[in-house]
């Protein structure tokens, strides 16, 4: 895990959290396999060809998107408890999107069994280009993949949002509550200082 750590600037360190143990949905497809996509209930997905190679840097923050995998994101169809084991975390950065509406889910952050933070994580519907909440467009695509192929009339968006902890805190678990319309594609921890 250590080699994924990315140091940027003088006093900020980022750590993209591997999420492959938790992924359960295929939201990104190449055109020849777009029938496999199941991001939306109707089988729409984001076009893989358009995404840069990971880590994708957004606002200086690196994100690992599991482009090209059989499953590439976490559909929050159940409560998801992500194990992280990290010290002095200040922020948790998320890439995600919703299908069939704009939604939020509650996020609780723990240090072992001690609750150290919580917030609401908002994401806008993937079929829109303007955010409905405090999220920001991470990547805007030129077309949507449907089960049948390219659909150029709708240009979907992957969104960015962030949760702040009150102070740099050791954390062990990020608990994302169930909301089957919400999908998480990547999350990256931000430390307050360079970890030696």
């Amino acid at each position: 895990m250590k080699n994924l750590k990315k140091e940027l600037g003088d006093n900020v360190t980022y750590f993209p959290v591997p999420i492959d143990k938790y992924t359960n949905n295929k939201g990104i497809t190449f055109e020849e396999e777009c029938f496999k996509g199941n991001f939306s209930f109707g089988g729409s997905s984001f076009p893989a060809e358009e995404l840069p190679i990971s880590p994708i840097i957004y606002k200086d923050i690196p994100f690992n998107i599991l482009n090209g995998k059989d499953v590439d994101n976490i559909e929050l169809s159940n409560e998801t408890n992500i194990l992280v084991r990290a010290k002095k975390v200040e922020k948790v950065h998320f890439i995600g999107a919703c299908c069939n509406g704009d939604f939020y889910t509650n996020v609780d952050i723990y240090q072992n069994h001690v609750h150290v933070g919580s917030d609401k994580l908002f994401f806008t519907d993937f079929l829109y280009s303007e955010p409905n909440y405090n999220d920001l467009p991470f990547f805007q695509f030129s077309c949507t993949h449907s089960k049948q192929g390219k659909y150029p009339h709708v240009k979907p968006t992957l969104w960015y949002n962030v949760i702040h902890l009150k102070e740099p805190t050791e954390i062990t678990n990020i608990l994302l509550y169930e909301n089957l319309s919400m999908h998480i594609f990547a999350l990256t921890l931000q430390y307050g200082e360079i970890l030696k």
Partner: protein, 329 residues
């Protein structure tokens, strides 16, 4: 061609999105137009009706906003098409109900039948310029495709007539809203949630044999429970129909949230935001169940949310009542 913008608002069904687009162009303030957040349930022989509306839109628009909602119903498709062409050429942007199965730009072209509203902007010989605000398409559609798509609403959904509508403003059309308007909306929604059958609550499917207000929720709970016990295919079909109506109820709570925010009623508006989320999540669970081969795994989640919604809707009545007290003092 005139400058034209697609109206994007995911908190409307296709009809309300089309209506909003057309009214926005006439200068109507949309944030004060959508506020009906009641509850209505009725079992018809051909379908189950769940609805947030307690007043039909033409009456609501006329009484409270000075907007004429002009509707025309024509049996013959050719006569209807001629009427449509005449109206558009005489300067009225006109909305029509079509079947998405025959719309070449649609996700659902030659795949799925569903009735849907689009706006016709301009007629050019054998083509129309249309705007599908809901599916975000602006461009050409041949008159032949339009005719097919209109006719299909009769063939596939049992409508006896083709439907078009357009809007005009009265001399007394309203563009300023104040606390008296707010008080009326808050009162109407409270009465609607209490299930009171007021004279100007002209429920589209009538009050006879219907259930209105929060009393609807235990009935909805039992109905959903009984649907989950049906054979898979029957249950899938019913759930896909119910999904749209739950989504519309979710939208109604969101639109009331926006309405209340305009009057800086932050606490009350947040309550309706939370309600729109709960109805929206439930709608999506129902949609997932409608597409699933294993609906039983979703049954408990749907029922849990309906119980939560019942508690929240009971709180709505109390919160609306508190607001009435505040506004009346």
């Amino acid at each position: 061609m005139m400058e034209f913008t697609i109206y994007k608002n995911k908190y409307h069904n296709c009809r309300n999105a089309t209506i909003s687009a057309m009214l926005k162009r006439l200068g109507v303030k949309l944030d004060y137009l959508w506020y009906q957040a009641g509850l209505y349930y009725k079992e018809l022989p051909e379908k189950l009706v769940f609805s947030p509306y307690y007043r039909e839109l033409p009456a609501d628009f006329k009484q409270n906003h000075g907007i004429n909602y002009n509707e025309e119903f024509v049996v013959d498709v050719n006569e209807f098409t001629q009427k449509l062409i005449h109206l558009v050429k005489s300067g009225h942007h006109t909305a029509i109900m079509v079947d998405i199965f025959h719309l070449p730009y649609s996700f659902y072209y030659n795949q799925n039948h569903d009735f849907h509203d689009i706006e016709v902007i301009e007629i050019r010989q054998d083509k129309a310029i249309i705007c599908d605000h809901y599916y975000q398409y602006y461009g050409e559609l041949s008159i032949a495709d339009i005719r097919k798509a209109i006719n299909s609403t009769k063939e596939n959904f049992g409508f006896h007539e083709c439907i078009l509508y357009y809007f005009t403003l009265n001399d007394y059309s309203k563009n300023e809203y104040n606390s008296n308007d707010l008080l009326k909306v808050v009162k109407d929604n409270k009465y609607a949630l209490l299930g009171e059958k007021k004279d100007d609550f002209s429920y589209f499917y009538g009050v006879e044999d219907s259930i209105t207000g929060i009393q609807t929720l235990p009935i909805i709970y039992n109905k959903i429970l009984s649907i989950f016990k049906l054979p898979q295919n029957e249950a899938n079909l019913l759930l896909s129909e119910i999904y749209k109506e739950f989504k519309d109820i979710s939208n109604s709570r969101y639109n009331l949230y926006i309405y209340l925010k305009n009057f800086s009623k932050d606490t009350l508006s947040k309550h309706f935001f939370e309600l729109s989320q709960k109805w929206g999540i439930t709608a999506n669970l129902i949609l997932r169940a409608s597409l699933s081969q294993d609906i039983t795994s979703l049954k408990d989640k749907v029922l849990k949310y309906i119980l939560e919604i019942e508690q929240y809707e009971k709180m709505s009545v109390i919160k609306l009542d508190c607001e009435i007290q505040l506004l009346s003092n």
